[in-house]
Structures are given as C-alpha cells and as structure tokens.
Amino acid sequence: MDAGPSLAPISIAYQTYGELNADRSNAILVCHALTGDQHVANEHPVTGKPGWWSAMVGPGRPIDTDRYFVICSNVIGGCLGSTGPASVNPETGSPWGLNLPVVTIRDMVRAQAMLIDHLGIETLFCVAGGSMGGMQVLQWVASYPERVFSALPIATASKHSAQNIAFHEVGRQAVMADPDWRGGRYAEFGVRPTKGLAVARMAAHITYLSEGALQRKFGRKLQDRSAPTFSFDADFQIENYLRYQGSSFVDRFDANSYLYVTRACDYFDLAADYDGTLARAFAGAATRFCVVSFTSDWLYPTSDARTIVHALNAASLPVSFVEIETDKGHDAFLLDEPDFMATTRGFLESAANARGIAQQAKAAAK
C-alpha cells in the first residue's frame, strides 16, 4: 500500500452483469464513487433501491449488459464486503478501525487489478466511473496502460482541490465530534456515531447539487405547514430533505469507512506521482478517452476536466471531451441526462467496433 505496510489477505466484494465473451475482450470495469458500492445495476441489498447507476448500466443501456461483461467491486476501505475499517484484523480478532493503513486511490486500483487477474481478464475493454470512480479510471490508465482499451472518466479531477479537501474535512470532523465515535472503536462498544455521520452526509450532499437545482426543487417552500413555527424544527423542505439524506445514509454506510474513502480522494494528485506533469502519467498508453463534465458541477468543475484533456492531448492519446449542459450539479452523472447517455453510448459503440466486440456477446458465443 502507498502508506507503507502490506495488507493481506484482503477481501473484494464484487458484482458482475452480462457474459464474458470467448476472447475475453468485452469486460467493462465500473468504479464507484465515494459512498457507492458494487451494486451498480441490481437492487441494493440494504436499501432495496435500484442500483446506483441503473440509468447507465443494464440491458439496452449505454453500458449494455447484453453486449458487455460489466464488473463492479467495492473499493478497499469501503464497507460493503471489501476489506475496510469495519473488517476484522486477523492479527487481533477485532475490527481494524483506524489501525487499517490509510487507503489511496492507487491502492483501490491495485486491489481491482488483482480481481481482474482473478477473473482471467488481460485487457479491460473500458474502465468507467464518476467522481472518485473517475479518479480510479485515471489511475488505472496510469498504472496499467496496456490493460485499458478505453476509459470514461466522468465529473472528476486529476487532483483534489483545497475546496474539495475542506468539505471532506468538515465531514470527517463531524464524524469524530460524535461522542459515539469513540476514537474509531465504536464497534467494540456496540454503538455507532450516526449523528456525526448524518451531518457529514448532509454537508456533502449540498456539494453534489447546485444552487439552481436546490432553488428549483425546494426554494423556500415549507414542510407540511403553512407558516414557520419559530423553532428549530425542519420548517423548510430543504431541511427535511437533508435530514432524510443524512439519516438514510447512516443505515448503509460505516463511519470509519467514510473517513477512509474521503481521505483517499484528498490524497489523490496523479501528476504529483509523475514529477508534477500530468501528461507523463499517460505516457505509453494508447487508451482512447472520453472525458465528461457537467456545467453546474462545482465540486469537479469543467476546468478540472480540461486539465485532464490537455494532459491527454499532450500525451497524444485519442481523447473526446464533452461538457454536458445541466443544472443538476455533480450528481448529474448518476442521472438519466439524455446528452450524457447519448455521448457515452456513441463512445462505447465506436470503441467496441474498433475492438471487434460483437453486437451481442451472447450471439457471438453461439
């Protein structure tokens, strides 16, 4: 691991969709975002909700599971089956907690590469992901250029900005300020810092939206009442909405995991690993890229995407770049935005034709 120590053995929880074709050329690795998981396109086992990217992944979707073999694994440091701070440290028999070495984006990608080896896949047809998933996409091409045929980094950056780190730090401090956090050893005491984690999620959730979308959706509308109550109840709909986001989040996410995955993003600075020149991270790659940003995303604004595109151009890689017009903020990458879907579909189809992937993997297998 980048932090120094080795971590073994590790568990990686993953889901697959579709079928791997005979020449093993149709595999797409989907990398999930900060609090995502491996349940891209199936009902979530905890929440019962549809997969987090069911707009993008599924039969007939842009990432078409009738044509491609789709893999998504829970990142290490996560909390849905892969090794993370809630996993048991085999040496002590109790949960790792903060004794788990700090995980980086590169560590996550190393673990994914082991999974891809395990599945017997030499070259991935595509690595795709948004936000923290997009960072993993960039890291994949930097670490394993010959193993990635095409790459789809969405709403992401090659490094975390001061503002990004600042928001993450607010979230972490909210978790740590909860008395039930207990120095990260809450599991041993049979408690959970749900209040702190909920506040962290509420603050983070604002950054995933945009001012315009908040105004359009909530404005100053009141929640089930006709006048303010002159109290600190959730009078406004936006308050109620954020409280709901916070409280539902804690049911499916581990507080220490939140510390680890936010830290992984903060430490991400791909250029820094290559003498400060981002283009060098992509030297030797022939991967075809499609970079996507969204106009109202202020967490990873279009300027971040342009930085990536310039580096890819300087490295002479075939790159496409689209900025999608939307007021839905950073979360737009999870939504069914028609231009976004059309671009992704077109990019993957042309790449699939260049790679010689048959229209339907099943048809080719027969």
């Binding site: 075809r288 499609c290 970079v291 342009r306 595109v309 310039h310 151009n313 300087a314 002479s316 075939p318 790159v319 496409s320 770049f321 689209v322 900025e323 999608i324 017009e325 231009d339 059309a342 671009t343 579909r345 077109g346 990019f347 189809e349 042309s350 790449a351 034709n353 260049a354």
Partner: protein, 210 residues
C-alpha cells in the same frame, strides 16, 4: 435550390481540403462541426484525426461517430497543444468566426507542420456589388446572415489573407479558389482575378524555418 448549391460547394471544399492531406498523417480539425471532414479524412486518407468543436451538439455527433473530438474554442484552446503536435491543423470555414484570427493562425502554424485554411472570400464580385450598388451589408448564399446576427465577425478577402500569411512569415504551398458553383478558378489566373471570382479559397501553408 440555394441550399443545394451551397451544400454542393461545401462538399467540394471538404474534398479539396482532404486532397491536401497526406495519407496516415496526424490531423487536428479546428471547428470540426459534425465531423464530416474528419470522417472523410479517417475513411479515405487513414489519418489519425482529432477535432475541436464549440457546440455540444456537434461534439456529441462526432463522439457518437467514433471521432476523437473535444469541446473547445479555437480562440482559447490551441495554446495548450505542444509544438508540432500534428502534421496538419485544419481550419475549415471557421477563421472568419474567430475573435483573434491572426493569433489562431499563428498557433495553428506552431502546433502543426502545415496548416490548411478555407474561408469565404469577401472580395467576391457579388459581395462587392451588394455593397456598391445596394448600399447594404452583403448577404449571399455563402454568407447568408444579417449584419446583426452573423457569427462571421472577421471576414477577409483572398488578398487580405495572403497579406496576413506574409506578415506571419508563412509560405503558401498551395492555394485554390472555388467559384460559386464549386469549380476551381483558373490556376494560372492572377490574384486579383481570384479575389474577384473566387467565392471561397483553400490555402495550404507551412511555417518558414528559422
């Protein structure tokens, strides 16, 4: 009828540009629109083609066709490309819509070994006569916008362009003028004749060494 003529003319223009590109070259098409030229170049000349396009609709169309196109602006984004990154940098019917055409041309000559520029000739006799006889801002089939809504903010004549090329210290490898029917104006004709009868022009340029 008018649109058919201008379409036919545009077609010839693209083929002319494509004809100037060596097979297998590395090409950047600045303002590539819906990717029509890049498609011709990729299919017929087997180039390694890239594009820059301002409109999202254009970029989406290109990406869907499998072309490598980035959303961007000729005026601001060429600066980011390294020297000699391409064998050819093409600016097809876009020069007159840039904010700083001289700078765009300079940058094209820096990042490409050769530059290909096509543009509508504002010196064409029909345009001259519109202004002279009617006293109105010229509107022709090739330049059909009104003065108040035109994207073409830096129109020039063939003579103007030749002078700019000279000022930039570039050399003209090849120049072709097309009349309003898309036929080439006589090659041996003098500049003034081209400037009068060419409705559009295509130039192949390279930067002088040293």
């Amino acid at each position: 009828m008018t649109s058919r003529i201008s379409q036919a003319t545009a077609r010839v223009d693209l083929l002319l540009v494509a004809d100037m590109v060596e097979p297998g070259a590395r090409v950047l098409d600045v303002g590539c629109g819906d990717g029509a030229l890049l498609e011709i170049l990729t299919r017929d000349r087997k180039v390694d083609g890239r594009g820059i396009e301002l409109s999202q609709a254009g970029v989406n169309g290109c990406v869907a066709k499998g072309l490598s196109v980035v959303q961007g602006d000729a005026d601001t984004d060429l600066v980011d490309y390294p020297d000699d990154a391409f064998d050819y940098v093409i600016l097809s019917q876009t020069l007159q819509a840039t904010r700083r055409p001289r700078q765009v041309l300079e940058r094209m000559l820096r990042i490409g070994r050769r530059a290909i520029v096509s543009f509508p000739n504002f010196g064409h006799w029909r345009i001259r006569s519109e202004l002279m006889l009617k006293g109105r801002m010229p509107r022709t089939e090739a330049l059909s916008y009104s003065w108040y809504d035109t994207p073409n903010i830096h129109l020039c004549t063939i003579r103007d362009f030749v002078q700019l090329v000279d000022e930039l210290g570039a050399s003209i490898d090849r120049a072709v003028a097309l009349d309003r029917y898309g036929s080439e104006v006589r090659v041996d004709a003098p500049w003034w004749f081209w400037n009068m009868f060419g409705e559009q022009a295509v130039f192949l340029l390279h930067r002088k060494r040293g």
